[in-house]
Amino acid sequence: MASASWRQFKAILRKDLVMEMRTHEMITSMGLYAILTMVVYQIALTEAGEALDVRLVMPGLIWVAFIFMSLLGLNRSFVHEKDQGCIDALLLSPVDRPVIFFAKFSGNLLFLLAVEVLSLPVFAFLFLQGREGISNPIWLLGVVMLAASVGISGVGTLLATMTVNTSGKDILLAVVFVPLMYPLLRAAVGATFAAVIGGPGSIETFWSWMAWVAGFDVIMLLVAFGLYEFVIGA
């Protein structure tokens, strides 16, 4: 049974990757969105000019971009399944529902991370040149991005499964998703800030924010996992 689930998990994930490689739907829309956000940031920050230490607002700015970017991807991720009723064919096959959850979650996580990893250097290139760089080791940013994206994709996969069946799905996902993400975003911004600004004690601060991120991930993933069977069967 376990090996069957693993095989099905891989099949669904591979299918999503193949379709994405072919259409570039999610990556393109998310990537474009990230770049547009930076243009808007430029407008927002331009009058402040040199007076503003961009590093102070950078953690907030990148998480704003990431959270709204993730909405685009999550919305797309169930459109394929719904299009020609594929989700019914998937549910008709002998697959345990949690397998579908983990496969869709993994796909969403991979796409989100890919765009995050691509857009972070662009942000640094556009806003941090000739200024003070990131104080603590850069891999700390990787840790926050990975951990927070797990929470975003986990809760997002559950919510996107619901909102794909509703009228006005794009807006609705934002309405239900963003408030639920508040604690995670708060902690991710806190950790990112500690990593970027540095200073004495910043590493401790970083890890205590990371404990919040990890706690949110564990609790919310367990709940989302528990609720998934009900939601996808409805």
């Binding site: 095989r7 299918k15 072919r22 299009d83 020609q84 019914d88 064919a89 008709l92 002998p94 069967g233």
Partner: protein, 243 residues
């Protein structure tokens, strides 16, 4: 594949009710269908036809009553039962951004079919799509999608096939092909078909069932049915439940 049900019945539906609050989509539905039969389900919109098929295919759970398909309970044995059922719907249930072959291989993985590539090639040949196997199904016509959809439904050699208005939206040529395909596999499977087309449904079936307002109005073997009387009953029910 699996043991033969002791009763020899493909479907055993007992007191099946599906309700939410006061509204009953299905109300104490009872019937048996022997193995190898072809059941046509008729009824007006909102009569509960789709709900019935969704319960028989484990996509919905009954609120009350018991349902056994191929001797397996639709609730407790759902995963095992899914190996034995196939569905052909008016919706193709295929991924538009995968090729014909990729679609079938994907579902073969989901079912854990041994020698998947061999089986997929054989099926693509039988539905005459092997020349298009590397094309995205996005580029397929309605009839081609329906043929591929049949191949997908047959992949895991199901014992019982559900057809949910398979003819709707097909052009005459595609209907002919579907007829031929169904005729070819008729002997190997039990069929359950939802149909809006009375003549087509009666022509194919061995058993007929009329559903209205979630209740069975009529259920009988084809040979026992007086066609004129049947048509009269059907016409009388079509007015029911349509708001």
């Amino acid at each position: 594949m699996g043991e033969t049900p002791l009763t020899g019945n493909a479907l055993e539906v007992r007191g099946l009710t599906r309700a939410f609050g006061a509204r009953k989509a299905l109300d104490k539905v009872d019937f048996d269908l022997p193995e190898g039969a072809f059941l046509s389900i008729f009824g007006p919109n909102g009569a509960g036809k789709t709900t019935l098929v969704k319960i028989l295919t484990t996509l919905l759970n009954p609120s009350a009553g018991s349902v056994r398909v191929c001797g397996l309970d639709v609730v407790t044995d759902a995963v095992e039962l899914r190996h034995k059922i196939g569905l052909i719907s008016h919706n193709p249930l295929l991924y538009a951004d995968l090729t014909a072959e990729e679609n079938l291989l994907f579902f073969a993985e989901m079912y854990g079919i041994p020698d998947a590539e061999e089986r997929v090639r054989e099926l693509l040949e039988s539905v005459e799509l092997d020349h298009r196997r590397l094309d995205l199904t996005r580029t397929f016509s309605r009839g081609m999608l329906q043929r591929l959809s049949i191949a997908r439904a047959l992949l895991h050699r199901p014992d019982i096939l559900f057809l949910d208005e398979p003819y709707s939206g097909l052009d005459p040529h595609a209907m002919d092909i579907l007829d031929t395909l169904i005729a070819q596999i008729r002997g190997e499977h039990t069929f359950v078909m939802i149909s809006h087309d009375l003549s087509k449904g009666l022509e194919l079936c061995s058993h007929a069932l009329i559903l209205a307002n979630g209740k069975v109005v009529m259920f009988d073997e084809r040979d026992a049915i007086d066609e004129a009387a049947f048509r009269e009953t059907y016409r009388a029910t079509v007015g029911m439940g349509v708001a």
